[in-house]
């Protein structure tokens, strides 16, 4: 594997609420290599977005990063002050958000918003920045970029705004791009276009991409490795081909069984759903986070003690008692 550009150790982020403390990310370990796409999958509330925001130092009160390390470029990002972080954010690590129309500033022209990032981080003048903006906009597939760069966000469609966001994110040739549900708000035909642009831009700059999505289909088609999260913890991680061909964790199997596959029909294939609902983070179950929804759960073990994330083979890791000496059969 190529060089490591980001390493997260035992990250723990929590929020204090009137009902008690909520630990959104609980001991996350993560390694991101140059030029790879790492998929982060999970249902709502599993902590995938909070992980991304923690990496960028965008957790605000009442949220707090309790412990852990985020190592980037030989430095721990959690030890840096705001000024130092600002030099990294948008330049070396950039982010694309879910809702493109609200992520852009409505009162500035989109071209100026991209140019601002370039001027700020590359210390160049307005004219040079605008020239680079023009190149970027045509790279992300915006037709007649000279006209479009003078438009305001409301004049552009959602897909167009997301292209502008991508252009902005890639404006300083970042080492890491965090894409948080970049296509969830878009139609499928536009989604396919946006994902192929992210892939293309990634190839040009050899950027490492962290792709956050709830859609396993998107991850299977776009990522190299993936991490499956549930209630703030990683349940299974490994190469996309390993996990899709040989899903180990009962939760992963449940997720894969829940999705209607192409060419299946309700008359012949019933969906294998996971019973119950995701519990609230305030009332976390004891032991394994999923034991109350898992059909293999062993009373006295799974609801008492939490399993560790252990190696199954190669880069394939799983957090389940089933693979730690105990077998259901």
């Amino acid at each position: 594997m190529s060089e490591v550009c980001l390493k997260v150790n035992k990250l723990k982020t929590s929020f204090s609420t009137p009902y008690g403390k909520v630990t959104a990310v609980n001991g996350l370990d993560l390694v991101l290599h140059r030029g790879e796409v790492l998929g982060l999958v999970g249902e709502s509330g599993c902590g995938k977005s909070v992980s991304a925001l923690s990496i960028l130092g965008l957790i605000n009160s009442p949220g707090v990063i309790e412990s852990g390390q985020i190592l980037f470029d030989g430095k721990d990002l959690l030890q840096l002050n705001n000024d130092e972080l600002r030099k990294i954010r948008g330049k070396k690590i950039s982010m694309i958000f879910q809702e493109p129309t609200t992520a852009l500033n409505p009162v500035y022209k989109v071209g100026d918003q991209i140019a601002e990032a370039i001027m700020l981080h590359q210390k160049v003048g307005y004219k040079i920045a605008l020239k680079r903006t023009l190149e970027l906009l045509s790279l992300v597939g915006i037709t007649s970029p000279e006209i479009r760069m003078k438009s305001y966000p409301y004049q552009l469609s959602g897909g167009m705004c997301q292209r502008v966001m991508i252009a902005m994110a890639f404006s300083c040739k970042p080492e890491i791009l965090i894409a948080d549900e970049p296509t969830t708000a878009l139609d499928v035909t536009i989604q396919a276009q946006i994902l192929s642009i992210i892939q293309k831009m990634k190839e040009i700059d050899k950027t490492a991409v962290m792709l956050i999505s709830h859609d396993l289909g998107i991850i299977s088609e776009n990522a190299d490795r993936l991490m499956i999260m549930y209630l703030g913890k990683v349940m299974e991680t490994g190469k996309v081909s390993d996990i899709f061909n040989n899903p180990l964790h009962p939760y992963t199997r449940g997720l894969l069984g829940s999705i209607p596959k192409r060419g299946t029909h309700r008359k012949y294939n019933k969906l294998i759903s996971i019973p119950g609902t995701v519990p609230s983070l305030i009332n976390m179950p004891n032991g394994c986070a999923i034991n109350n929804r898992c059909q293999y759960a062993v009373p006295g073990l799974c609801n008492k003690k939490e399993p560790d994330l252990i190696k199954y083979e190669g880069t394939h890791y799983v957090r389940c008692w089933k693979y730690q000496g105990w077998d259901n059969e």
Partner: protein
């Protein structure tokens, strides 16, 4: 009528429960807040469609193609601009408000957002007994309570939830309450408008299984509106693909063949992420769906179509039956 009685597979009853004839819906919008001139959005453009008894008709398309508007017109929640909708042979669009109310016990809707579609001030019991209070006035309170508990059991919720408020439930449970409410009066026809798209995948599977079981149990007819092609394909007996107010393809599920379909359907299928990545060249549809204020001439899809021919921007292609029950609106198949 181009699809009457076309799905002959023995198991299905082919009498149309709903037949839609040349239905159009235009919305007038102000072109600017300062200028008084109006623009017309053609949400539904001269649409013909039959929905057969006991089938699940999937309606799929991108946002703004008019699929939700169609569902709303069928339930008389929105006024049509022209055309007719016959329910059991009777045009329901010309009914008086009182008659429409009666009709609602036969047709119901399951909405997309389970957080917005339940009144937060009412308990589940009140929400679910309302249909009986309106349509079955002679039932006693006890009888209604019994029916409500039966409904809750039907959607796999505990009858103990009777006194709880919507905010105490998760999204999936709320959607079950929405389904229970829709089924309260034993309707024949249910419009599921993006009924699962707001839910997490594991919950989505539970709701899809539930909808499928209820359909078989009560021989319901669904118009299943969704934007995810894999979900629509999984649920439906027939699929109608809609693009800018027109149905461009109508296909029984067993005749779905990727080499033999409308170019838009093809693009839609290839754009939908799949769990089984293939080595096939991904066919990405270029550009974005144009606005329905000013739709392209001829075939609406021609600016984005890779098979575009000279005639495509001049004339509207007719709906052609390429094989039994499979209709395509494209000049390639003419």
């Amino acid at each position: 009528m181009f699809d009457a009685g076309s799905t002959k597979d023995g198991t299905m009853n082919n009498t149309p429960i709903i037949s839609i004839n040349s239905l159009s819906k235009n919305f007038e919008v102000n072109s600017s807040i300062f200028i008084k001139s109006k623009m017309t959005v053609k949400a539904i453009d001269n649409l013909d469609l039959n929905i057969n008894k006991g089938e699940i008709l999937g309606l799929v398309g991108e946002s703004g193609c008019g699929k939700s508007t169609l569902g709303q017109i069928l339930l008389c929640l929105e006024k049509e601009s022209s055309g007719t909708v016959n329910f059991h042979g009777k045009n329901i669009l010309k009914l008086k408000a009182k008659e429409v109310r009666k009709l609602r016990s036969h047709m119901q809707m399951i909405f997309q957002d389970p957080f917005a579609s339940l009144n937060p001030r009412n308990t589940v019991g009140t929400i679910l007994s309302e249909p009986f209070r309106i349509h079955n006035k002679n039932l006693s309170k006890k009888e209604v309570d019994k029916l409500v508990c039966k409904l809750l059991e039907q959607v796999e919720l505990s009858p103990d939830y009777y006194r709880r408020y919507p905010h105490e439930f998760s999204g999936g449970q709320r959607q079950r309450i929405g389904i229970a409410r829709a089924l309260a009066l034993d309707p024949e026809f249910v419009v599921c408008d993006e009924a699962v798209s707001a839910l997490d995948v594991s919950i989505q599977a539970q709701i899809l299984n539930l909808l499928s079981e209820l359909q078989t149990k009560h021989n319901l007819t669904y118009l299943f509106i969704a934007h995810d092609f894999n979900v629509v394909q999984y649920m439906s007996d027939r699929i109608a693909v809609m693009y800018l107010g027109r149905i461009v393809e109508l296909v029984p599920i067993e005749k779905l063949d990727k080499n033999y379909m409308h170019p838009y359907t093809q693009g839609l299928i290839f754009s939908t992420p799949s769990l089984q990545p293939t080595n096939e060249q991904k066919f990405v549809i270029k550009g974005e769906a144009p606005s329905s204020v000013n739709p392209p001439s001829g075939c609406h899809f021609h600016p984005r179509c890779k098979y575009r021919m000279g005639i495509c921007d001049k004339a509207v292609p007719p709906m052609v039956e390429v094989e039994k029950g499979h209709w395509i609106k494209c000049f390639i198949y003419k």
